[in-house]
Amino acid sequence: MKKLLILGGGTAGTIIANKLHEVLDQSKWHITIVDRSETHYYQPGFLFIPFGIYTSKDVMKPKRDFYPRGVEVVIAEIDKVEPDNNRVLLKNNQILSYDYLIVATGTHIHPEETEGLIDENWHKNKFDFYTLEGACALANFFKSWEGGKLVLNIVEMPIKCPVAPLEFLFLADSFFTQMGMRDKVDIHFVTPLPGAFTKPIASGILGDILEKKNIKLTTEFGIARVDNEKKVIVSWDEQEIPYDVLVTIPTNKGDSAIERSGMGNEFNYIATDKETLKSKNYPNIFVIGDTTDLTSSKAGSVAHFEAEILYDNFLNAVEGRPMRAKFDGHANCFIESGYGKGLLIDFNFDVEPLPGKYPLPGIGPFSLLQETKMNHYGKVMFRWMYWNLLLRGQELPVTSNMSMAGKRY
């Protein structure tokens, strides 16, 4: 019996478990998934919670509903991986050995990395929306807020879902307008990047939308600390930006188990071959989703596209055949822009987001880098696709490698 161990039962881990379980001979393979929690969170939905569009029940389901039948599920914290001994130590003292390991432990926020962020005002006038607790606390805060300075700050790159901060700003503009208090809210986006987004063409287009929506943009701001007395964020070069409510995208880091295992970089992400998705250092370890050190976006769509590649390469690797599938860094993200509209971007390692139509060239129905109602419906529909198709490893009507067809350049 060969043992496949999957660490992490989030989006990436669940998709790859479903895909591989479908084809691996059950009389020859034993698949085990380890995760610390029983609840699967639909993380793209967290964004909508502060604005009362979703509540917590819209984004939670039991993880076990999505794991394939017949895999062993272990609910436990991971202590560390011992890649040289082909085994994983759990905090409950259990030891799991493996022939092949797939690491999908993801990335998490670390507000404690920034001085002054965590104190008695955390989740009172300083919030994150990358956790359910943070998103719900902010929803409660907005219910009785009378306006003032709303600052959204990205602490440092890379972060999970780099478009989420922009979507938050667009939705905030729409939300406060509909509440009839947009004139009382000063929205300010403070980022360490040189522009609104990481890629130049999209950055320009999104920057223009920010301006149109009267959202102030401060770039190249590296936050050093929060001064809670003065209610300002302070940069390393001592610039100050005042806030009444601070929404932070804290430092993102991979799981601490990766650090304890000595397998990660300075952010606890694992050195991964960008084409095959195999670990650069261990021949029987694959890495998927937010856990990799690749420059592709940390997002569910990327995990989904990677799963197609990893699936192919895994099946060849275990049979001793050469790995042929190559990941191209493909990402595909809906961007809510408020007022029932949205944008869509589609890009990879080499090609930045461009305008055009998707997925059918010239037809769409979705428009790239353009605000349309159809893109918004795409995002709304996506939650259904996520629970019913994507997590279960089923085919979606889009290709895993990016296509230039339909793009204007």
Binding site: E156, M157, P158, P192, L193, P194, T198, K199, E220, G222, A224, S235, W236, D237, N265, E266, F267, T295
Partner: protein
């Protein structure tokens, strides 16, 4: 992609305006590149960062992030921002004749 003259020699630059050919770099070129970034004088502390970045790049094939610089070069974040204002990792990589660090996409 563009070429421009530095110290009397035409040098090629990539789309991020970083030096394209590693062999074109030397300490005199670094001084000129630093001036373009508003860093008028390169002190021992600047050189410590530049040399660390070049060493990292040669070993790993990628210029380090600010977090890595702070962790391993022995220069605190605050000082990094003082030495290379605004974006220390990007600026130091540029002066060091390296491509933009992939971490700061």
């Amino acid at each position: 992609m563009a070429a421009r003259e530095i110290l009397g020699k035409m040098l090629e630059f990539d789309n991020d305006n970083h030096l394209k050919n590693r062999d074109d770099w030397n300490e005199e070129v670094a001084v000129e590149l630093a001036k373009e970034e508003g860093v008028l004088e390169l002190t021992d502390r600047h050189w410590l960062v530049i040399n660390f970045m070049r060493k990292e790049y040669m070993e790993k094939g990628d210029a380090p992030s600010i977090r890595k610089l702070t962790k391993e070069s022995g220069v605190e974040t605050k000082e990094l921002y003082a030495l290379f204002p605004k974006g220390p990792a990007k600026k130091a990589a540029k002066v060091a004749g390296l491509p933009k660090p992939t971490g700061c996409i």
